[in-house]
């Protein structure tokens, strides 16, 4: 009787292990698409970082040249727009077309004001990186306690 309970416990333990492996499998599978679902469909995904004295924004923009992008900043409002045509090269027939054409605008309210003069944006390997230095008043300051 007691040995049977040991067997049952071991079976539950194995099932738990299987379940945690399966859920981790699904987590990993879904994580790559999670941001896409949040952003609503086929908008390019973005990451936003705060380093203390500046913000960094990274945007996934494969195949988009800098001429097709427009970036606007006003105070703490940032707007990025762009497009990429789905151009079939001449003389080719299409077997599969998943990438599609993209025409998007995404806007953000930044946590604090940004010095628009000093913003830098570079695009490399289809990844846009923007460095947005904070306005002086918004930078963190050390307060000395007397």
């Amino acid at each position: 009787m007691w040995t049977r309970i040991g067997d049952v416990n071991r079976m539950f333990g194995d099932i738990d292990l299987l379940q945690s492996r399966m859920s981790r499998f699904f987590d990993d599978y879904d994580r790559s698409n999670y941001g896409r679902v949040l952003a609503g469909g086929d908008l390019p995904l973005t990451n936003f970082y705060d380093t203390g004295d500046h913000f960094e924004l990274k945007v996934e923009l494969p195949g988009t040249a800098k001429e097709d992008l427009s970036v606007k900043i006003q105070g703490n409002y940032l707007e990025i727009g762009g497009k990429r045509e789905a151009n079939v090269p001449d003389g080719y027939s299409v077997h599969r077309s998943e990438r599609g054409s993209v025409d998007f605008t995404r806007s953000f309210t930044l946590p604090s004001e940004v010095d628009a003069e000093k913003v830098e944006a570079t695009i490399s390997n289809g990844l846009l990186t923007m460095i947005l230095p904070k306005a002086e008043a918004a930078k963190p300051k050390q307060i000395t306690v007397r």
Partner: protein
């Protein structure tokens, strides 16, 4: 690629390990008389991270992206990823002449057809 093998081995223990998730890159496939052309979206992957492997009629693409992160993230919609996808290629491809380039985060893969496979006009002779 070897780091993925290590992580799988250690998983048997109780450590929580962060694995790089895999995703399938979106592709466009085109064809004309001379070649098959494949475009694959792999943003953020640089030339060293891309691997194209053709073996026995199977084409495997993979691209590894690791982000260089400064500061605290307010939000992250994408992260490190291993893009991976495989296809069957027809016998008519000349493997020696396959070439690829990575432009703006998009992999352009050219699979030229071997001479014997190109379409030919058959001339009808009057008899």
């Amino acid at each position: 690629m070897s780091e993925r093998k290590d992580i799988v081995k250690r998983e048997e223990g109780t450590e929580r390990v962060h694995r790089i998730p895999m995703a399938a890159p979106l592709v466009d496939i085109y064809e004309n008389d001379d070649e098959i052309l494949l475009y694959a979206d792999m943003p953020g992957v640089d030339k060293d991270g891309v691997r194209v492997n053709i073996d026995n009629g199977k084409l495997e693409l993979s691209g590894l992206r690791k982000l260089v992160v400064n500061g605290a993230a307010n939000w992250e919609e994408f992260g490190d990823v291993e893009y991976s996808r495989s296809f069957s290629v027809p016998q008519t491809i000349d493997i020696n002449r396959v070439n690829a380039e990575l432009k703006c985060g998009v992999l352009h893969l050219h699979l030229p057809k071997s001479e014997a496979a190109k379409p030919r006009q058959i001339e009808i002779k009057a008899a």
